[in-house]
């Protein structure tokens, strides 16, 4: 990984993923280190994402590095019509690594091709957000003690949700079994089912969130957004169906944990928050350790 960019989750091998998670675990035990001492990391957020940006900046600070950058494009030369290429080439002169979030799909791959310093993709439109996936994996491994042979329930918008697609790809390295829970209109696209079949992994589909929850090790919730529906009536029908409530956790396994990439709207009822099986807030904290590990490895820490 040394000096390489991280653009998409499939850029990483199984071994590289495990290496990142192991190092993240070390950082969790000893969070103050100086592996980024004397390094300048630029965080370029062409669209705002406060949670992701603060998580990266916290990670840099904990490792003794310095941060420069912007949190939205409106006060920068971008609004004057500067191209992404020019912005990247300029900022690369000021920094040793660029963390970027950009609304245009494929922008991070392009930046990685032209940038003399490594790029970390912190989300390029609806395309990729690999550090989110790595923190999800870290959370799963931490709560389950393993990544191998788990029963993963993916719930909500499985058609457009990039986080569930990336998670599926990454978990497929570890022999998972998947259950897809979604309204018909937002079912998991065929290309991912074909991918699982080719890898010999099992999956099933259901529209009812109440079914089979007792089998789950992880319930990964995502938002069902109104704008994804061609027919608004369809949305009205399902909007309150894919909501997780505390009562539904009653017969679930002891080790089961509920994850969510956040922000949530109403898909997890607040009565779940106090249940020890709710893990979405600690999940956010894990993002800092995971990002510390990713940046340290790119800067060549062994």
């Amino acid at each position: 990984m040394k000096n390489k960019s991280l653009v998409a989750i499939n850029d990483l091998s199984r071994d590289e993923i495990v290496k990142i998670l192991n190092l993240a675990e070390e950082f969790e035990k000893n969070p103050i280190q100086n592996t980024l001492c004397q390094k300048v990391v630029a965080t370029l957020f062409f669209e705002p994402s406060t949670r992701t940006r603060l998580s990266f900046e916290s990670a840099v600070n904990r490792l003794g590095g310095r941060v420069i950058g912007f949190s939205e494009a409106s006060n920068t030369s971008v609004t004057k019509g500067e191209s992404l290429k020019d912005t990247i080439l300029t900022v690369a002169n000021y920094s040793d690594m660029i963390v970027m979030r950009h609304p245009v799909e494929g922008s991070a791959r392009y930046a990685s091709e032209i940038s003399p310093v490594p790029i970390i993709n912190a989300g390029d439109g609806a395309n990729q957000h690999p550090t989110q996936t790595l923190l999800d994996l870290f959370s799963i491994r931490k709560t389950q003690g393993t990544l191998n042979n788990l029963n993963i329930f993916l719930v909500g918008d499985l058609k457009y949700g990039r986080t569930v697609h990336s998670l599926l790809m990454a978990m497929s390295h570890f022999g998972a079994t998947f259950t897809f829970v979604s309204p018909n209109e937002l079912r998991m696209p065929d290309e991912y089912k074909i991918y699982l079949e080719e890898k010999g992994l099992k999956f099933s589909e259901q529209t009812d969130l109440n079914e089979n929850l007792d089998k789950a090790d992880i319930i990964y919730m995502t938002r069902v957004q109104k704008e994804r529906f061609s027919d608004p009536v369809e949305y009205e029908k399902v909007k309150n169906v894919y909501v997780l409530r505390e009562g539904m956790l009653q017969n679930t396994k002891e080790n089961m944990r509920v994850l969510h990439p956040l922000p949530r709207v109403n898909e997890i009822h607040t009565d779940v928050d106090k249940n020890p099986k709710a893990y979405y807030f600690p999940q956010t904290m894990n993002g800092v350790f995971t990002r510390m590990a990713i940046m340290s490895l790119i800067f060549g820490l062994e």
Binding site: A8, E105, G106
Partner: protein
């Protein structure tokens, strides 16, 4: 008869004849090869009857020979194209085109939110299916199929 047909196809002294181009793809092939910028003597025929395509087109380019990777670029527009390499009015070699594994700078990505449609970035694709020709964008990862192909 055979000799007469041969003569018609080989009516250039030296060069390349590209045959079996679907008539509707003629101008795409011209664009892909950049023939409009050539100084060579070029002749086109189109809407010729073909048992295989209904209507086909043919291009004859004098004093020009193509490298494989150069000519394979036309494969997405004319996957069944056949090349006759001509020297001294004689066909000395026949070649078929082959859809390459990667395609650069020929078609646009179908995704309007893709960086290649927003900034001056040359589109690059991985060819997923060589028969139906579907292309996966190396930037936004979306798939462009034959039906939605727009040539640059």
């Amino acid at each position: 008869m055979i000799q007469k047909k041969q003569l018609r196809v080989s009516a250039i002294e030296n060069g390349t004849v590209i045959d079996h181009i679907p008539a509707k793809s003629l101008f795409n092939v011209i664009t892909i090869l950049g023939l409009h910028k050539f100084d060579n003597l070029i002749t086109f025929g189109t809407n010729m009857e073909s048992q295989r395509f209904g209507k086909k087109a043919i291009i004859k380019i004098a004093d020009k020979y193509f490298a494989n990777d150069e000519i394979n670029r036309i494969a997405i527009a004319a996957p069944h194209a056949k090349l006759n390499i001509i020297r001294d009015y004689t066909v000395i070699e026949k070649r078929v085109v082959e859809v390459p594994d990667h395609i650069e700078g020929i078609v646009k990505c179908v995704n309007p939110k893709c960086i290649t449609n927003v900034e001056a970035v040359v589109p690059k694709f991985k060819v997923l299916d060589k028969i139906s020709v579907s292309l996966k964008c190396q930037y936004c990862e979306k798939i462009t199929d034959q039906e939605h192909m727009v040539y640059l």
